[in-house]
Amino acid sequence: MNTIKKYAGLIWMLLGPLAIYYLVKTAAGEIEKKPFLDTWIQWGVFTIVALPIAAGMVIFGYYAWQGEYDHLPEESEEGLIH
């Protein structure tokens, strides 16, 4: 199971940049179709929000690849994690 978790990490690392590529591509297409300031704002907000999330996905993948999720804590400080 840990091997699957580790190699799946590579997929998650790729998923981040891939999502940004599709987002920017779609944003460019939509802005070209409706070249107004509010279209820019809308897609600008999406991109600003998506960048740290995509970065988070890459970090998540990297941690998985490093085996950080092989053994998670079974209990928080007050009891069992369900």
Binding site: A8, D38, V45, V49, I53, Y63, A64, E77, G79, L80
Partner: protein, 514 residues
């Protein structure tokens, strides 16, 4: 017995405030069309820009920002005072929206004020949920956390229920004549749901003021173990950051899209794609919510016995597999082409009126078609007859909506009920799940951010991306479902692989806040 009574007071005080916050946040969205006509007039590019900002910035940028601001505050000064503050900000902003004069009265000041107030609403919402969930969880016995926090989980859906109910009631209560009542509502009555909020918030603040600080927080405060920099400890240290990322990509991301698809996209689909009339498209959601809400508590409680993981992931799996047939079912129920039309009952009404300030005439032609199964279809064609010779209306404005017969109506309630049942599976246990992932001293900060990115960003994007997909794949009315299905699938795989399954075992229980 006293402890049992105490926890119900905690749940009551927390849930009421959180419900009101959700209500406040949703009435803005539910009244978007009316608010647009009051504050963001069509054809004005600056107003359109402000409207776009109000729609997107409040949900996507400010909510996660509010999670960071108030999460940090809640881990430093305490849960009680922080979620009191978010409630006051939310209530004040909502009440103030109800008082803002229209664009016609004060020009651009109106949409700018509304935009600022909407941003305040987003900020407050970002801080509220984490505080309420943490507060209840830290009062609850460890082996019943799922059950007790599930009451907090009902509030988001009930907030939507109350907002839809108050809007429908107000819309029909302003005049005996329904058409006049709706006209009055669109003119000034829309302010009532916003103004009512201050009374609800007042009651909730009064109740919350009487509550004590969370015992677990108080304990670490007394022992001098509070976090000095919760943001750094939550997101700057690998040990905690990896749990934040797991919470986001393995749970809240999928929960967010299932939540928004079952409640918001379903409503939008029924109204705009199935073309069901305004009141029915809302009462269908209201009934489904009412019937499904107890399941938040059922699944929350069940998660205490069998674990949270597979209930949440089970909800996602069911959504992935059945969304397409369920939405196809909504389309089939609204399709009148297979129904028998009662041609003898067909009604045609034509009205004409001179457009003020011109010599042109507005013509409205209304056809009503009746069907054996009880459905009534109304088609309205509006066009202008120009006085000037040779000038004709290029494209008449055609609107069609259907009032379903009783059988189709209740079948639609049943289909939406199933979708909201999935919501209760993914959402019922998630507060307890998030609370248990993080240590007390940085819990408010650590759980708020993944929740608001998952619910607010991934979930909040559902209606926009789904609509965008339907404009790209015009031949497929179900194309919009690709987004929630793909996001929920990724989340399901991540959750299944990486989240640890645990079942409560009282022999292992320990309460140690040192």
């Amino acid at each position: 017995m006293n402890q049992e009574k105490g926890i119900w007071k905690v749940i009551g005080a927390s849930s009421l405030g959180t419900l009101i916050e959700w209500y406040d946040f949703y009435i803005f969205g539910s009244l978007a069309t009316v608010l647009a006509s009051q504050f963001f007039p069509k054809g004005n590019p600056t107003a359109a820009l402000l409207s776009t900002l109000a729609t997107f910035a409040a949900g996507f940028l400010v909510r996660p920002f509010g999670a960071l601001v108030f999460g940090r505050l809640g881990d430093i000064i305490g849960r009680k005072h922080t979620f009191l503050l978010t409630l006051v900000i939310m209530g004040g902003a909502t009440f103030a929206i109800g008082l803002v004069p229209s664009f016609e009265s004060i020009g651009f000041a109106a949409p700018i004020i509304v935009l600022l107030l909407r941003l305040l609403q987003g900020l407050a919402l970002g801080g509220e949920y984490g505080g309420a969930a943490t507060y209840v969880a830290e009062h609850a016995p460890v082996h019943k956390r799922g059950f007790y926090t599930s009451w907090i989980q009902t509030t988001a859906t009930l907030g939507l229920f109350v907002s839809l109910g108050v809007i429908l009631l107000t819309r029909h209560a302003l005049d005996v004549n329904q058409a006049k009542s709706i006209a009055k509502f669109n003119e000034w009555g829309w302010r009532i749901p916003f103004l009512v909020s201050i009374v609800l918030v007042g009651v909730s603040v009064y109740i919350r003021l009487k509550m004590k600080e969370s015992p677990l927080f108080q304990e670490i405060k007394d022992s001098g173990n509070l976090s000095v920099n919760p943001l750094k400890e939550s997101f700057g240290h690998k040990t905690n950051l990896k749990m934040v990322l797991l919470a986001l990509f393995g749970a809240t991301m999928g929960q967010g899209v299932v939540w928004y698809t079952g409640q918001f996209y379903a409503q939008s689909f029924i109204e705009n794609v199935c073309k069901i009339e305004f009141d029915q498209s809302r009462t269908i959601i209201i009934w489904a919510i009412l019937l499904a809400t107890p399941f938040f508590v059922i699944f929350g409680s069940w998660s205490d016995r069998i674990g949270r993981k597979w209930i949440m992931l089970g909800g996602m799996l069911l959504a992935i597999v059945t969304y397409k047939p369920l939405f196809q079912g909504l389309l089939t129920l609204s399709d009148l082409s297979n129904q028998v039309q009662l041609t003898g009952l067909k009604q045609i009404k034509k009205t004409t009126s001179v457009i003020p300030g011109t010599t042109d005439t507005l013509r409205i032609l209304t056809h009503q078609y009746y069907f054996a199964e009880g459905a009534i279809q109304t088609v309205t064609v509006k066009d202008t007859a120009y006085a000037a010779a040779g000038r004709v209306t290029i494209k008449p404005d055609v609107k069609s909506f259907t009032q379903l017969g009783s059988s189709a109506y209740w079948k639609m309630v049943g289909l939406v009920f199933i979708m909201i049942l999935y919501v209760t599976m993914v959402y019922g246990p998630i507060a307890a799940f998030l609370v248990e992932l993080f240590p007390t001293k940085i819990r408010y900060t650590s759980m708020s951010l993944p929740y608001h990115i998952g619910n607010g960003v991934f979930g909040g994007l559902t209606p926009f991306i789904a609509t965008l997909l339907t404009t790209i794949y015009t031949g497929d009315k179900l194309a919009g479902l690709q987004y929630p299905i793909i996001i929920a699938s990724i989340c399901l795989v991540i959750g299944a692989l990486y989240i640890q399954q645990g079942v409560h075992d009282s022999s292992k229980e320990k309460i140690n806040n040192a």
